[in-house]
């Protein structure tokens, strides 16, 4: 099958700043909502970094700086009852699916009020009723899990689609291949967004795969492949919308490759010594997804500088409030560790055994 490059990144004339594609079905109101999600993602991550520097974050901090448009634009193409499973660079997709900043902040700080109650980190949680299934650290595993969600949904006669994210690194795993292949064979409505962001931890993509475009891997499964400009939020929305319509009408799985760039290291501690000089600065200056969308909104007269500032102020207020809430949460009770391995009405909690006590 041919790879569609309709939404692929386009060359711009020298000195010409990048914007977004104009051909869209999105209303002005929806576009402003997209802007809100982009800003929310970026500012929540900045808040998490601040909390990290204050040693309030227990584990590592993972950023999606520079690639927010991929997560936000793609997830926005879904219906409320559709499912997503993000990877760590898709915080924006979590917000689009209804996750609140307070939940993410409490997770990072290992607080009792976080959705996992302190048992797991960052976006590693889920809500079946919101169609949100957090990932695990083992990349690729969520592809077969999402395939199973869709298999179950089909047996229940639900016409939902599933959106799973993977990186250029995760696309090298066996689970990715097995899951995609099975979904393709079963013609399940699985849409996989493969984010080409140049690095998997420190490993560049040319040491990860010999294909030039991750979308070429679609040929191995006999499914359509798309390449999209991952830093154009409208293109990300439009390409995913097409894939969603294709998948929901029973035609099967789709692989979308989003070309983007990871401007931060794997985690906050990573000094990025493996990145060529000037590369990050180039992307920051010439291809920032938020800048591009702002330019688009202003040029198209969809927003004014003031109205965008107002959105940012509103987002900041929400983050302040949620941050306060998350910080006010207690840490979990130590003994909470023993519960929930199994249904504890059947198997008792895993208390430490008492020995040599008469």
């Amino acid at each position: 099958m041919r790879i569609s490059t309709k939404y692929a990144p386009r060359k711009v004339a020298d000195g010409q700043p990048r914007s977004c594609i104009k051909d869209t079905s999105l209303t002005h109101e929806q576009m402003l909502e997209l802007y809100r999600y982009l800003k929310l993602t970026r500012l929540v991550e900045e808040r998490i970094v601040n909390l990290y520097r204050q040693t309030k974050v227990v584990g590592g901090v993972y950023r999606s700086l520079g690639q927010e448009a991929t997560a936000v634009g793609s997830a926005y193409a879904l219906r409320a009852d559709d499912f997503i499973t993000p990877i760590i660079r898709d915080l924006g997709a979590c917000f689009v699916k209804g996750i609140r900043p307070r939940e993410i902040l409490a997770q990072y700080m290992a607080k009792a009020w976080g959705p996992s109650g302190g048992k797991d980190l960052n976006v590693h949680f889920g809500y079946m009723d919101r169609g949100f299934i957090g990932p695990i650290s083992h990349l690729g595993d969520m592809i077969p899990v999402m395939t199973g969600i869709l298999l179950g949904a089909r047996m229940q006669q639900k016409d939902i689609v599933g959106l799973a994210y993977i990186g250029d690194g995760g696309a090298s795993t066996g689970a990715f291949y097995e899951g995609m292949n099975f979904a393709a064979v079963q013609r399940l409505p699985l849409i996989v967004i493969a984010e080409y962001n140049y690095y998997a931890y420190s490993t560049p993509t040319n040491l990860q795969t010999a294909v030039r475009n991750l979308a070429e891997k679609a040929a191995a499964f006999g499914i359509p492949g798309y390449i999209v400009d991952g830093n154009d939020v409208i293109a990300c929305y439009e390409v995913t919308k097409q894939a969603v319509d294709y998948a929901r009408t029973g035609r099967g799985a789709v692989l979308i490759e989003a070309k983007t760039y990871r401007r931060k290291g794997h985690a906050e501690h990573d000094d990025q010594r493996y990145v060529p000089e000037g590369e990050i600065e180039y992307w920051e200056k010439h291809n920032d997804p938020v800048d591009r969308f702002e330019r688009f909104l202003l040029d198209q007269k969809i927003a004014t500088k003031e109205s965008l500032e107002e959105i940012t102020a509103e987002v900041t207020r929400e983050i302040d409030e949620d941050s306060e809430w998350a910080e006010s949460s207690p840490m979990p009770e130590p003994e909470g560790a023993v519960y929930g391995v199994f249904d504890n009405s059947i198997v008792p909690p895993a208390f430490r055994p008492r020995v040599l006590e008469k």
């Binding site: 996992s116 048992k119 083992h138 592809i143 077969p144 047996m155 689970a175 097995e178």
Partner: protein
């Protein structure tokens, strides 16, 4: 005509009335659960028209259709992952590994996904992962595995291994109804063993997960075992009876969580414990059981806790080699005599 008759026969409820083999008992258990609960479905390699490598799922596709009896690519990670996803949606998958040896290809999703979901975010995975295990059938290093000790150190997976047709049916039904993931090991040597044929009661019954059974009552030594080794233990017990030694045989049935009460009650009665299993000795489940006994029944013991297991090698193919590898009745006799004389 002959095919039509055969098909009709297949569509009839299997094994009602007549004495059932273990394979028929498992099939009947899955069949009944699929009849009573539309969320139960079967997934695995060659489980559909072919009926599975050992014919455990034979006839299911004719009765329940390919929507509920799903043939997969050779992809254990996809089988386990898809079972987990469907289970999250409220379905009850019964996933088959063609041989339990191939569970290694689904290990990551079992130990990291299935086992940890409830603990991490409260989402339970009511799935059964089943398949033929065990050696003694000349199947060589890749079709003879006993996998329990690989999973014993993973919190969140239950493990079951029956040694009778009755238990096989009752336990598979209990496993399907269980709200948490269950690994269901079926010893392939027992599948069609005439000695295990038994009349199963009409109507619905289950065998509770987490409960051992006393396969033979005795006074002098407790043999704690499971699976095909229950038969080895019973044969040894019969021999030793002639020498005036009265052995108790505890069939664990569930390997996780272990029925500590049953193990300790037996050892406190006989004061001598012999643990017998088919997997290799080092790092086997026997070490865990021995630790439980020595910690919680030390003062009742009249002799050290001894283990009889396979030697620490892969499972060899050639009959003389495999027979040497496996614990034989003679090994149990020798060890039991030493225990009695201690």
């Amino acid at each position: 005509m002959a095919t039509a008759v055969k098909k009709l026969r297949k569509l009839e409820h299997p094994s009602s009335g007549a004495a059932a083999t273990m394979v028929e008992a498992i099939r009947a258990g899955i069949w009944e659960e699929m009849e009573r609960d539309p969320t139960v479905f079967v997934i695995g390699e060659d489980v559909g028209v072919y009926g599975g490598a050992f014919k455990v799922t034979e006839g299911l596709i004719d009765r329940f259709g390919k929507e509920r009896v799903i043939d997969t690519p050779i992809s254990e990670a996809a089988i386990v992952g898809a079972a987990c996803g469907a289970a999250l949606m409220g379905m009850k998958p019964v996933a088959e590994f063609q041989f339990i040896d191939f569970i290694s290809c689904g290990f990551d999703l079992l130990t990291n996904y299935a086992a940890k979901c409830r603990y991490r975010w409260g989402a339970n995975i009511p799935a059964v992962f089943r398949g033929p295990c065990g050696s003694g059938v000349r199947a060589g290093p890749f079709h003879s595995l006993n996998a329990e000790s690989f999973f014993l150190n993973t919190a969140g997976l239950k493990m079951v291994e029956p040694s009778t047709a009755y238990d096989a049916k009752g336990l598979i039904k209990a496993a399907i109804r269980d709200p948490d993931p269950v690994l269901f090991f079926e010893h392939k040597k027992l599948y069609r063993l005439p000695r295990l044929r038994e009349e199963l009661p009409e109507g619905d019954f289950i065998v509770e997960i987490g409960k051992a059974r006393t396969a033979r009552e005795g006074r002098d030594i407790s043999i704690i075992t499971f699976g095909a080794m229950v038969l080895t233990a019973l044969d040894a017990a019969e021999e030793l009876e002639k020498e005036g030694l009265d052995l108790e045989v505890i069939d664990l049935r569930t390997l996780a969580p272990l029925d500590k009460d049953a193990i300790l009650a037996s050892v406190k009665k006989t004061n001598r414990a012999l643990i017998l299993h088919e997997a290799s000795l080092t790092g086997g489940i026997g070490g865990e059981i021995a630790a439980i006994i020595s910690q919680e029944a030390f003062e009742w013991l009249d002799a050290p806790v001894l283990r009889v297991a396979s030697i620490d090698t892969p499972v060899p193919y050639s009959p003389p080699l495999e027979d040497y590898y496996l614990p034989q009745v003679k090994d149990v006799l020798d060890t039991a005599r030493k225990l009695a004389a201690y």
